[in-house]
């Protein structure tokens, strides 16, 4: 294990490009361009990556999860280069320490198998648990961390549970191996507004109580402001602004960050004599 002063995750000058088109119309798309950041081991934090669709945030997440190699640059987890992780045993060890949570809970579960199967399989693959009683115990402990219990979800199919419950189960599953880092790719964008806060509060608890670092990928600036410690704003693969989340979002400097912040619809209703945000925008354009 790495010492207290080493980096948990070190992303150094990472780029990734894709080639598209046919033989004559080959075109290079730079999905991620020269991104660097470091998460420290000693202080768990919620690190947010913000950007519109196509900004490369999901590609970056996939590289951190070691599902794709960078074209240039390097990513190290706990001092170990991800490209050197080749053997199955090393891979399993890496996966037990870095876990993903995906966007759409309805798509990340197989509709034909019961949800507790995912928890059992994860427990069997990544922990010492072997017998039914042991895996059930591991599943139940993880579910209790997210405010559920095994009795509530056992023998249920995904369609019998709400999106919020499924997303909690996905988080519980990610917690079973006892990870140090969770990469959550748009975990609340498919969840109802009323449940969104419950899920992001859960991330806060994971950071504060279980000392898990979280990379939170989103396009929702309001929840990012609410839970993040640090933030990077990406546009077309490049980081345009980074720093302390509150400082960046309170006072964005880059024109794109300012545009993003201005586009967020305020949940406050304006006064009677004041036009609504979208009309103010229209008036400004017509002048």
């Amino acid at each position: 294990m790495s010492g207290a002063d080493t980096a948990l995750l070190d992303v150094r000058g990472v780029s990734r490009s894709f080639w598209t088109g046919g033989l004559l119309s080959r075109r290079r798309i730079d999905a991620v361009k020269d991104v660097s950041f470091t998460l420290t081991d000693a202080r768990p934090e919620i690190f947010t990556i913000i950007g519109e669709s196509g900004s490369g945030k999901s590609t970056l997440a996939r590289m951190i999860l070691n599902g794709m190699n960078p074209t240039s640059g390097s990513i190290a987890f706990g001092g170990e280069e991800l490209t050197t992780i080749r053997k199955t045993r090393d891979r399993m060890r890496f996966m037990s320490r870095v876990q993903p949570i995906f966007q759409n809970p309805f798509e990340s579960f197989n509709p034909l198998s019961k949800v507790d199967r995912y928890l059992t399989m994860t427990a069997r693959n990544f922990t010492e648990a072997r017998s039914r009683a042991e895996t059930d115990d591991a599943s139940d402990r993880a579910l209790r961390k997210v405010g559920l219990s095994l009795a509530e979800v056992k023998d249920r199919f995904p369609h019998e549970l709400s999106g919020g419950q499924l997303q909690r189960i996905a988080i519980a599953r990610a917690l079973i191996p006892g990870p140090r880092l969770i990469v959550a790719d748009e975990p609340v964008s498919m969840v109802d507004a009323s449940l969104r806060v419950a899920i992001v509060n859960l991330f806060k608890d994971l950071r504060d109580e279980l000392k898990v670092s979280i990379i939170y990928i989103t396009h929702d600036l309001a929840t990012a402001y609410y839970i993040s410690d640090r933030i990077i704003i990406m546009r077309k693969g490049e980081v345009v602004e980074s720093g302390d989340a509150r400082a960046v979002l309170d006072n964005p400097q880059h024109p794109y960050s300012i545009l993003l912040k201005d586009s967020v619809l305020s949940p406050d209703v304006p006064d009677d004599d004041e036009p609504k945000t979208i009309e103010r925008d229209r008036a400004a354009r017509s002048h």
């Binding site: 519109e52 669709s53 709400s162 999106g163 919020g164 419950q165 109802d192 507004a193 009323s194 449940l195 969104r196 806060v197 419950a198 899920i199 992001v200 509060n201 396009h219 929702d220 600036l221 309001a222 929840t223 402001y225 609410y226 509150r246 979002l249 309170d250 545009l259 993003l260 912040k261 586009s263 967020v264 619809l265 305020s266 949940p267 406050d268 209703v269 009677d272 609504k276 945000t277 979208i278 009309e279 925008d281 229209r282």
Partner: protein, 348 residues
């Protein structure tokens, strides 16, 4: 400013409902009814809903998934299919030139109304446009029949309409996959409004879009509404969109309308505990105060809890809430709420 606009400006929400609103829904009940091996199962997705939508206004419906929002608008649009059946109540439209009671019409009469008078902007623009046909062909497929004009004049009208919506007529030659998500959604809105319908139903049209695109699509919807003076029924679970777009707002919970009023009144002075929760739980930039999520899950509509359907999750539930369905009560100013605590004056 025209006289009509001035009138609207001075009286934004009339106290008494005028004789003929654009849409009148009375006691509407629509259930999913299935019968397998002699066992009848009934899911009460729309349960006794009464609402009015005025001419020239945007009416919002908010609620979480499985609260029956989509079933309600399907029923209002007359786009229901078994097992969803209308069990009771009426849906009356007033399109200005003609008044219709939707569920007494013959199917072919209902088809004739669609697009021409009643348009439907669906969620997921990706799946609405035929991927194998150019956008121009989709316009012809959907709207040509209803416009009743020769093809060259029709195409000219389509191009004029696109220009009015700040879209280049060049998009007509594109296939859907060549357009970005936001552009496709704009094309779908243009498609839905090309016949200049008097009533537009929009189902989560911006949910899949990111913030910058979402704002421009909402601005476009507002402009279309202003220009055509149409009524829009706008459904989304995103309260920030409601705050910025809708004139009046209805909150749905488990198939019932629990609160309704002018959007501003509802946001300033929410009375139902569920509305209060929806508004309070919104995180916003510049405010990092801890917020509470709502515990529990939405009720199963096949076996809803007795009394007020919100009582298992309600922080102020009383004994009466567990046995009696709260009636809709008018609070003045068009603000209505269905909550025993408000009726009995135990909460302010």
């Amino acid at each position: 400013m025209t006289l009509h606009q001035l009138n609207n400006h001075l009286n934004p929400a009339p106290e008494a409902l005028p004789a003929s609103p654009a849409l009148r829904v009375d006691g509407l009940k629509a259930y999913y009814q299935t019968r397998w091996f002699g066992i009848t199962r009934e899911v009460r997705a729309v349960d006794d809903i009464t609402l009015r939508i005025e001419h020239d206004e945007i009416y919002g419906i908010a609620g979480e998934s499985s609260s029956g929002k989509s079933s309600l608008i399907k029923t209002i649009a007359g786009a229901i299919r078994p097992p969803l059946n209308v069990v009771g109540g009426t849906v009356n439209f007033d399109f200005g030139t003609r008044k219709v009671d939707l569920y007494t019409l013959k199917p072919e009469e209902r088809t004739a109304i669609r697009w021409k008078h009643l348009a439907y902007i669906m969620q997921g623009s990706m799946s609405v446009l035929n991927p194998l046909r150019r956008v121009r062909q989709s316009f012809i497929d959907f709207a040509f029949r209803h416009m009743g004009m020769p093809m060259p004049a029709f195409l000219k009208a389509v191009e004029d309409h696109l220009l009015r919506l700040h879209l280049q007529p060049g998009v007509l030659d594109s296939y859907p996959h060549e357009l970005s998500g936001g552009m496709r959604q704009r094309v779908v809105i243009a498609l839905a409004t090309v016949c200049r319908p008097g009533f537009i139903i929009a189902d989560e049209p911006t949910t899949a879009l990111d913030v910058v695109v979402q704002k421009s699509v909402l601005t476009m919807i507002r402009e279309v509404q202003r220009e055509m003076r149409a009524s829009i029924l706008f459904v989304t679970h995103d309260m920030a969109v409601h705050a910025n777009l809708t004139d009046r707002l209805g909150i749905m919970y488990a198939g019932r309308l629990v609160e309704e009023g002018r959007t501003r009144d509802l946001f300033r002075n929410p009375r139902h505990p569920y509305t209060l929760h929806l508004i309070r739980s919104l995180p916003r930039i510049g405010d990092a105060e801890p917020r509470q999520g709502l515990e529990g899950t939405p009720p199963n509509l096949a076996d809803p809890p007795p009394g007020c359907r919100f009582h298992p999750r309600c922080p102020i539930a009383m004994d009466v809430c567990r046995v009696m369905v709260p009636p809709m009560q008018a609070l003045g100013g068009g603000h209505r709420v269905a909550c025993h605590a408000v009726t009995e004056g135990t909460v302010q």
